[in-house]
């Protein structure tokens, strides 16, 4: 047709960027993430933890090293045989920390996935449909939010009894309101965008609008929150175990290790220092990754 309005920018000066190749959004996000050194550090920490969790049995046998009590060996300082020493029951601290990683990560991921799924459903319904639906759902969530996390978890565990599953239920319930809020506000911010109206202007169905236009844009904050929530959950689990709820002894959970080691702290600080460092590293790693993801997913925020 007409050449009158041809885009004459860049005439004469070659633009080195080539847009003809298809580049996936994912690669772009990974690239941006990789440029953030702190985030990459966080990712390395997480990878180490994940490897520990996955290969725990290979690194240190569960029964012999982490669980079996060996009074003869008790309270040994760090040595070639026991890298971080032994605790008051003669169990290898290093082995217990490695296995503790498995427990913390599994429980943490389980909790986050559960609360994320349930929270998303409620939050999406509230955000997309608004009005009465929104009001009812959010007021119920407000009730749960009004109760302090730990208190609610303690109550539920107290009522249902101890054990991993109950702990998971307790932690999930306390995290659901947070996720439903995040998803709801994510969707609200996207819902009134012009490109959603443009989709409606050609008759796009609601379902396609949600999965093709709303979710891909709302997912950023969701991922970031999930990562940070995981950090919180690990901390909470440690806290719960510290006060004796949830994880049953002799499972090597970091928080319960802290609790048990308290009495020995003065002369054998390695019993509390190393589990403490493990908790701190896990939480730090997750926070760094969470921040890095947030910056990588929405580069505009940074500038």
């Amino acid at each position: 047709m007409t050449t009158k309005n041809v885009d004459k920018t860049g005439v004469g000066k070659p633009d080195s960027r080539d847009y003809t190749k298809k580049r996936s959004q994912l690669k772009l996000i990974m690239y941006r993430f990789s440029k953030n050194r702190l985030a990459v550090l966080g990712l390395c920490i997480l990878c180490v933890l994940a490897l520990c969790a996955i290969f725990a049995d290979v690194i240190a046998d569960y029964q012999t090293m982490a669980i079996k009590q060996n009074i003869m060996n008790k309270l040994q300082p760090p040595s070639a045989e026991h890298w971080l020493g032994t605790d008051q029951y003669g169990r290898d601290i290093f082995a217990r920390i490695i296995h503790g990683a498995r427990i913390s990560l599994t429980m943490g991921i389980g909790t986050v996935l559960t609360s994320l799924t349930i929270g998303s459903i409620f939050g999406a319904l509230a955000g997309y449909y608004g009005g009465k639906v929104d009001n009812i759902i959010m007021r119920i969530m407000d009730v749960f939010l009004a109760i302090p996390n730990m208190l609610m978890a303690v109550t539920i565990v107290g009522a249902l009894g101890g054990g991993l599953v109950n702990l998971l239920i307790a932690m999930s319930i306390s995290s659901i309101p947070r996720f439903s809020r995040v998803i709801r506000s994510s969707i609200l911010s996207v819902r009134d965008m012009d490109y959603i109206e443009a989709a409606r202007a050609c008759g796009t169905k609601d379902s396609r609008i949600i999965y093709k236009h709303v979710l891909p844009n709302a997912i950023g904050p969701i991922i970031v929150n999930a990562t940070l929530s995981l950090a919180n959950t690990i901390l909470s689990i440690s806290g719960m175990s510290f006060i004796g709820l949830g994880i049953e002894k002799p499972m090597p959970e970091w928080g319960s290790m802290l609790s048990e080691g308290r009495a020995q702290m003065r002369y054998h600080p390695n019993l509390v220092i190393f589990p403490g460092i493990a908790i701190a590293l896990a939480v730090l790693g997750l926070n760094l990754v969470g921040d890095g993801l947030r910056d990588a997913l929405d580069p505009k925020l940074k500038n």
């Binding site: 004459k8 920018t9 005439v11 004469g12 440029k35 940074k302 500038n303």
Partner: protein
């Protein structure tokens, strides 16, 4: 006491981000006399806001930097001043009003309180009743009923918010007002009201003004002198008569005039400028308008044009430097 209130000499400003170094302002020279309004015209990315922020020394910390050049305000060297010096000047000798009235005011403070704040910062000897009286005076000056000083910003419309912003800016009767597109976000009838107030107050207080805008109509009605900015450089400068009535202009200025649909003319098609502003991360060796100039010559790509003066009219373009050179040659021949 000199007539020159603000003097900017060879200003170079850069922004340093993680990804790139942006050359925002590249060798700007301009003066503003006492009581005069200088219009700074250009499009997004030309460097107008950066220039104003440099005068206030409000460039973003760690990212913006004045690489070179000097700024003198009422005899004081701004570029060498300490932060404490600058705090004493801001709001007092020089004020700035920004484009978006919605985000210029603190939403949790009453408007009267916000006006009073600037008064108290620069006049700590004033008593509470004197401050109150002055706030009332300022509200009336900008055409707002003084009873409304207890209200919050969200209770005002866009135009009224901008009036509050003007009251805050003029509270300490500054010598220079920097107005960065003060009416772009407002409706055209409200724009007319706000510009009228600014004009009135300017006259009353004999304030100089740097009016940044992309609207040539606003320039024609409000400014005494005009500077046209492109890609960090001032390509043309002169009195309003020079810019609107003289026939010689920088090709960019010609392009700007050709882009605006004029109410008084009946033209079939607009003649826009083709292309876009050059990449600000690349320092241009020659004239930055080279790519888009319909009258470009080879020399324009390699050599920066000199600032050619014709009385009060400055044009930075090779097209006119030749005329100058030719005139000089003739003169020599005559002798």
């Amino acid at each position: 006491m000199s007539d020159v209130l603000l003097s900017i000499e060879n200003l170079h400003v850069t922004y340093r981000t993680d990804e790139a170094l942006v050359y925002a302002v590249n060798g700007v020279n301009l003066n503003i006399m006492r009581g005069e309004t200088l219009g700074l015209v250009g499009e997004t990315g030309a460097g107008k806001t950066t220039t104003a922020l440099s005068v206030m020394r409000l460039l973003p910390d760690k990212i913006g930097k004045i690489e070179q050049g000097k700024i003198y305000l009422d005899g004081l060297d701004i570029t060498a001043a300490t932060e404490a010096d600058m705090r004493a000047i801001r709001g007092n000798i020089v004020s700035m009003i920004f484009q978006d009235p919605m985000s210029s005011l603190n939403p949790v403070l009453r408007v009267g309180e916000q006006i009073a704040e600037v008064l108290r910062i620069h006049n700590d000897k004033l008593s509470k009743s004197e401050v109150d009286r002055r706030v009332d005076e300022l509200m009336e000056m900008v055409g707002l009923p003084k009873e409304r000083k207890v209200e919050y910003p969200h209770q005002f419309s866009g135009g009224m918010k901008q009036r509050v912003v003007i009251a805050i800016a003029l509270a300490c009767e500054p010598k220079l007002l920097l107005a960065d597109e003060p009416t772009t976000a407002l409706d055209v009838t409200i724009q007319a009201q706000v510009l009228a107030i600014i004009r009135e107050l300017k006259e009353m207080l004999n304030t100089s003004m740097l009016l940044i805008t992309h609207d040539l109509g606003i320039v024609a009605e409000n400014c005494d002198r005009v500077a046209v900015m492109y890609a960090g450089e001032i390509v043309e400068m002169g009195t309003v008569e020079d810019i609107f009535e003289e026939k010689d202009h920088h090709p960019y200025t010609v392009g700007l005039f050709g882009s605006i649909p004029d109410l008084d003319k009946n033209i079939d098609r607009l003649t826009p400028i083709e292309g876009m502003m050059p990449d600000p991360t690349v320092l241009q060796a020659g004239c930055p308008f080279y790519d888009r100039c319909p009258q470009r010559m080879d020399i324009c790509n390699t050599e920066k044009p000199a600032e050619v003066m014709k009385g009060t009219h400055m044009i930075k373009c090779h097209l006119f430097s030749n005329v100058e050179k030719a005139a000089n040659v003739e003169k020599v021949g005559e002798v």
